[in-house]
């Protein structure tokens, strides 16, 4: 039974496409994580919870009768300010400290966010309806929800926009300069405090987009943030901090890995396989990241 996938080639196609579409979404979240990790040297445990919060914003506008797809515009705007505020309140106090302190601080933020979302939106699982329909391929044997295609498309679009912004704009250059050498950037007149706040805001905005996309493709619940944190952490570990195309590739790779693990090992080991892979990669790389400081190019 477990090896059904090798008997039916169409399942292989289905699994690959599902994996890639999901992977692109993961890559977007991971991109945000790589950005603020690279700039601020902070591992944000609350990443997944920011994603879920972004999803709830899209869900809220859906409840108001607005199509949830608008969430991909509204949610990042709100989330940018949430991220900014979070930086001013908490992150700026841990930004120069060691990694462990920042992990603890963001872990605390994650718990607070979970409880707040539970308090505001309730503990029920919710979904927003996009009514986008389905694309059928190969005589209906492969089905792709259009919402997933939409979400992959939007993710790619935002990622490209962000790359251009980072290359061309003044703030983008300042962020990259700070990532390379914060002290030097400061001496040369970059307001690093502002750069940090903006970086954290941009990360939160990316989470907001991803959350809005999750609200129409998957389900939302105040306590499902952690798997997104773990996935993006893993993608970043594999891809490294300075390499955006690698983030995209490793995101899709993870999506594929998850889908195939589901078919071959069984659904119960799907998330387990992700964790196992994470451990293996960490052992393999032996925290190379901490020895050789990488930065965003």
């Amino acid at each position: 039974m477990d090896f059904l996938i090798f008997k039916a080639p169409m399942l292989m196609v289905q699994a690959s496409l599902d994996g890639i579409l999901l992977g692109i979404l993961f890559a977007l979240i991971a991109y945000g994580m790589a950005l603020q990790w690279g700039v601020m040297n902070i591992i944000n445990i609350a990443q997944g919870d920011l994603v879920i919060l972004g999803g709830y914003i899209a869900y809220t506008i859906y409840l108001w009768g607005i199509h949830p797809a608008w969430g991909v515009i509204i949610s990042p705007i709100i989330m940018f300010f949430v991220g900014w505020a979070l930086y001013k309140l908490v992150i700026n106090k841990v930004v120069d400290r060691d990694l462990f302190i920042s992990i603890l601080a963001t872990f605390g933020i994650a718990i607070v966010f979970q409880q707040l979302m539970n308090f505001i939106f309730g503990a029920d699982v919710v979904v927003a309806q996009s009514e986008y329909g389905t694309t059928m391929l190969f005589d209906n044997s492969v089905t792709l929800p259009n919402s997933k295609i939409f979400s992959a498309f939007i993710s790619v679009l935002y990622a490209i926009a962000l790359v251009i912004y980072m290359r061309k704009s003044k703030l983008g250059r300042a962020i990259r300069a700070t990532a390379q050498n914060a002290r030097a950037a400061k001496i040369l007149g970059v307001d690093t405090e502002k750069v940090y706040a903006a970086t954290f805001g941009i990360n939160a905005a990316l989470c907001g987009i991803a959350g809005a996309l999750i609200s129409i493709t998957l389900t939302l619940h105040p306590y499902v943030g952690l798997p997104y944190t773990v996935r993006s952490f893993m993608i970043v570990i594999v891809a490294g901090l300075g390499n955006l195309p690698a983030v995209a590739v490793s995101g899709m790779g993870l999506g594929l890995f998850e889908e195939f693990a589901d078919y071959i090992l069984g659904t119960e080991f799907r998330i387990g396989a992700v964790f196992l892979l994470l451990v293996l990669i960490l052992v393999y790389r032996r925290f190379k990241l901490s020895r050789k400081r990488e930065y965003l190019k």
């Binding site: 169409m10 539970n118 503990a123 029920d124 389905t134 659904t267 119960e268 387990g272």
Partner: protein, 413 residues
């Protein structure tokens, strides 16, 4: 402080402590109040169902108190409940049970929400020999441990979807069917799975997909792609509200055609409201439905209960509230038959419970589970965009005929 003073302070504190524990041990009945205790999830992941449970308890307390209360040895008593928030955390629930019993002196407990938390509390109530009537822990393992003070007004989890398999076999002309199933890996869902395994064995059915969903999962695409490839006669899904919502979303998006789809937690997930027409024809297991014809003198019928509940709390009661209200009726009945506040007398009276409530007949089996009430199945049916749950099994209460097989997605508008 010199030695004598220290000794004196210690002595005084010891006496005070002794007095405190002495008085509290009589706190089970204070004046005209019978004090019950309950740890309940008011925050955390079970908070919505925790509140449904609490509302059910409160509604019954009000009603019983208003209608004369509980008569023991010729004197009228009223119910009162001490609640603590267990934060949806089993460890916390066990601590709070201990606190309710030891500090607050509670001698009779009402259950928390969910099988997991009930499992955490049951060893504590058992240790102190405190009778607990619970309404929201359906896991079979609760009833196989030989607990003597645990009584559940609900049917155990393994019975949830057994009826669905029988129904599928019946529609297949009495021959065994091919079953695809996906269950979350938690105590409750795995018990539902055991029930299906029993039913499959009994009916000569074959299980062709048997996926276990991890707790964090919100994507079932792989399972459903397999289902599409092997074409089972019936698809069974149980993974709390998340499982129900994910399944319907992805079944409709991936256009998975199955003749029959059976699930749990449809009403808690507000399936017909959140997914509308996409959820049509889904078959759902439920402990209770307001249209059933059970009656009692406190709430009248299920319909009346639903109406009163709606008036009081502003929403239609889910079965979690109804069964919680029933727990209080059971306690009242047991106190009156025991005609005493002795814990063991009350416990013995609970063992002999045999009554009808608006929620269903209640009679406890040797493990403490309710053996007198069958599970019911309803099917989501829609008129236009308006969807509702209609009872289709057992036939005695069915308001609608079971619609089978589910039309293919290509034929659905």
């Amino acid at each position: 402080m010199n030695k004598i003073a220290k000794l004196f302070v210690t002595f005084i504190s010891a006496i005070t402590l002794a007095l405190v524990s002495f008085t509290s041990s009589f706190a089970k009945v204070e004046g005209e109040y019978i004090v019950l205790g309950s740890a309940i999830s008011l925050t955390g992941k079970y908070s919505s169902n925790g509140v449904h449970t609490q509302n059910g308890y409160n509604m019954a307390v009000d009603r019983i108190n208003k209608m004369g209360g509980v008569e023991v040895q010729g004197k009228k008593y009223k119910f009162e409940i001490i609640y603590y928030d267990d934060e949806s955390n089993p460890k916390r629930a066990a601590q709070l049970a201990e606190r309710l019993i030891k500090q607050d002196g509670v001698h009779y407990m009402l259950g928390p929400y969910s099988s997991g938390l009930t499992k955490a509390i049951a060893p504590v109530t058992e240790k102190y020999k405190i009778p607990m009537v619970e309404a929201n822990g359906a896991s079979r393992s609760l009833f196989t441990k030989g607990y003597k003070y645990l009584f559940a007004v609900l049917s155990p989890a393994n019975q949830y979807l057994e009826v669905a398999i029988d129904l599928a076999v019946e529609k297949n002309g009495g021959k065994g069917v091919k079953i695809a199933q996906a269950f979350e890996q938690d105590a409750f869902s795995q018990d539902v799975r055991l029930g299906i395994l029993d039913a499959a064995k009994r009916t000569g059915s074959e299980i062709i997909i048997d996926d276990k969903l991890p707790k964090e999962l919100n994507d079932m695409a792989a399972t459903l792609a397999k289902v599409k490839a092997v074409k089972p006669d019936v698809l069974v899904v149980s993974g709390h509200t998340k499982g129900a919502l994910t399944a319907i979303r992805q079944i409709s998006e991936m256009k998975v055609d199955v003749p029959m789809l059976a699930m749990t937690h449809c009403d808690a997930a507000k399936l017909s409201k959140q997914h509308g027409k996409k959820s049509e024809f889904a078959l759902c297991a439920s402990q209770w439905h307001k249209n059933l014809s059970y009656k009692d003198k406190f709430f009248g019928s299920g319909k009346k209960y639903a109406k009163d509940f709606q008036k009081e709390f502003g929403y239609d009661p889910p079965y979690q509230s109804a069964e919680s209200s029933a727990a209080l009726l059971v306690f009242k009945d047991a106190f009156e038959r025991a005609n005493s506040f002795d814990r063991d007398a009350v416990r013995d009276a609970l063992v002999d419970t045999e009554m009808q409530t608006f929620y269903g007949n209640i009679k406890f089996g040797p493990g403490g589970q309710n053996v007198a009430k069958p599970m019911i199945l309803f099917q989501v049916r829609c008129k236009g965009d308006d969807c509702e749950n209609r009872v289709v099994a057992p036939t005695k209460w069915a308001s609608d005929k079971f619609y089978h097989p589910i039309p293919k997605w290509s034929e659905r508008s």
